[in-house]
Subunit: 202 residues, 2 copies
Amino acid sequence: MEKRAKKTDTRIKLIETGLTLFAKNGYNGTGIKEIVDGADVPKGSFYNYFRSKEAFTVEIIRHYSQALSNMWDASLASGPSDDPHGALRNSFEMIVGLQEGAGVKSGCLIGNLAAEISEASDLCRQEMHRSTTAWKDRVSFYIEQGQAGGSIRNDISSRTLTEFIWNAWEGALLNMKIANSTDPIKECICVLFDFFLKPQKN
Amino acid sequence: MEKRAKKTDTRIKLIETGLTLFAKNGYNGTGIKEIVDGADVPKGSFYNYFRSKEAFTVEIIRHYSQALSNMWDASLASGPSDDPHGALRNSFEMIVGLQEGAGVKSGCLIGNLAAEISEASDLCRQEMHRSTTAWKDRVSFYIEQGQAGGSIRNDISSRTLTEFIWNAWEGALLNMKIANSTDPIKECICVLFDFFLKPQKN
């Protein structure tokens, strides 16, 4: 029993170390040696837990996506329950706070990996597709609520609005990295919520 | 004279080979050996032309950005001259055609490098900042023309609109890579031009 717990611990430790290193240096900029060193795991034990670096990366994407889902659930629940527009804005603003507090403005791990390896690894690409779809389903649900209640425009489908929000947000995170400032993501939220998502006059 | 021309040719050959390899495999996924092999240049001669891989990448960003500027100038000039909204849309649609024709849906090299190395290299980050600023200046000029002529909304400043367009477009290119389809960039153009940029009713 104890041995099994240890095995799980090591696996999680490797995944969390990999996640931190990927966020800082990307997939190709991170070697397996660095990962095992960072996780303080004996060299060569990596392949006891993961078939390949690619399979390991699939697990990292899954782990990151699950953590992100939990964070979104918590922040959406903490927002105004009768105001989906406000609850969504609140969640994006929480991420701005996290990026402001972080020494490394890593942005979104999935966006970064999409840029770097979606051509090279179909397995990782498919896992990114699943993760972003799950996120979009969650946001789309709130958009629909806002459309039904009249706080979000209803001349564009909730699916199309959600795709567009994802695009604008991921692009703003890249913009943040290039500018080395959180101004782009703050401005993006203002344009999205003060203008783009608001009900349009007929 | 002939020797000098040869030197320039080799330099350009290295840059163009690097650009192709970076678009496919990213910065860290591309080794200098591959670049010299791909350019058919003797091993070890790389450092006759570039101080480091980082300095080489700055040149690649500059080269890509210049080629992109030329393409935008040409496509904007080929669009309807009295319709900045249509001319901008025309240019984005041209890029959709290029991505559709490409075997590798590489998206935007600057967006990809921003995701991968803007933390690791301040020199490259600064060059990306210069390149994106030049692109934004060009687009912003057209936005202002459209605002003055009434084809583009004027309740948001041209600078803010341009930043938002950049974000939405770069995010849509990431979305394209994850979906392995050009549908996200086509849909993004429709939302931008059919809804977001249009003059708003008061």
